[in-house]
Amino acid sequence: MTPRDTSVLPSVLQKRSGELLDAWIAHQTSADGYRPDLMADAELRDQSRELLASASAAVSAGGLESPTHPSWQATRQLLGSIAESRATAGFAPTATATFVLSLKQPIFEALRKDVQNPERLADELWNATTLIDRLALQTMESTLEARERVIARQHEDMLELSTPVVKLWDGILALPMIGTLDSARTQVVMESLLQRIVETGAEVAIIDITGVPTVDTLVAQHLIKTVTAARLMGADCIISGIRPQIAATIVHLGVDLSEVATKSTLADAFRLALARTGHSLGRAPARERR
């Protein structure tokens, strides 16, 4: 709309920064979404001051021309961290949006004081609206991104928690898998198994799939890849608990398990693992047992 060299918005933002900040804070603390329990007033003031200064700098550097103008870079980052900290603190998205939108009225009032010509005033109000809209949209985007990051992190945590790698004996790890295996879960679990092999120096790892109802080609291939990768690292894998139906599926799918040690039960696999690591298992004579 108005070319920036004729807009007074940058100079108004700079000249009246102190009173704008006070008016904005007053608006925020009297608004419905005001939550002094979630954020201390001092922090609120800091956030507001930083954002106002950053937006003012962006506008002075020509930011009104377009939303992709490089002068917005710093403001965008600031809004990103504000959105993230507010999302973590438990603010509703509307509260975060209100935080930015409540800056509109103070700026309008400031412009009204400085611009007398009604036509000019209309232009400047439009400029101010553009600015606020831009900030609000960016805030919404940052808020959504922050939420997505939280969800992705939780999803990862859940994947890792869902199948723990346990140590059975010196040098022997077991991975008891339970529930339906999809490709993504198998991959995460297998990566964490290999990582644990390095951390513990385990020579043998048992992958027990007793609790797995079905195995498809992709999952079977992931299993074989894991066994092969473990071998490259210098550890042996044993797969145990293959149910008859799964054995049939594996053969039917044409997956070759001949290179992989398989045992029908975890106990058998454990016995084999002990033998491979040089341990022997036997009952003590009766008189020593008591």
């Binding site: 290999l194 990582q195 390095v198 092969t228 490259l232 690292m233 210098g234």
Partner: protein
């Protein structure tokens, strides 16, 4: 020219690869190692790659070649310390280094080398008729 050092420890040769190897360096190592095996009469080679962040088909082939050549020169090769991410990538790439023995770390690698040697020497004392079976066993 830049070279990867080869250490001699008793009847074993020890190599630790710690740099991002370019192709010439890998070829050089392959040549140096076979030279050293025949010069010193070493019976075992241990290659530690725990510091390697990547093994592509070129380096993989070099490792397989070293193991194959060493075998002809009557030495066993053990590769130690391959990182999980590297192992996963190699498998995905389709390279499984068949015929290369592996161990989790240098210490385990030395133990494995010694037991491979004992196995090989045990064969030498036995009747010649047994040799074929035992050789197959040592290769697997």
């Amino acid at each position: 020219m830049e070279r990867i050092p080869i250490l001699k420890m008793g009847e074993f040769l020890l190599v630790t690869i710690q740099v991002d190897m370019h192709d010439r360096l890998a070829m050089q190592l392959q040549d140096d190692l076979t030279d050293r095996i025949s010069a010193t009469g070493a019976r075992g080679v241990l290659i530690d790659i725990s510091a390697l962040e990547m093994v592509d088909s070129f380096i993989g082939r070099m490792i397989a070649n070293i193991a194959a050549m060493a075998r002809i020169l009557d030495a066993q090769t053990v590769v130690t310390g391959m990182q999980p991410a590297v192992a996963i990538t190699l498998v995905e790439l389709g390279l499984t280094l068949t015929g290369v023995r592996t161990a989790l770390n240098v210490e385990r690698g030395m133990t494995l080398l010694r037991s491979l040697l004992d196995e090989a020497d045990g064969v030498a004392h036995d009747a010649i008729a047994d040799r074929e079976d035992a050789d197959v066993g040592a290769e697997e």
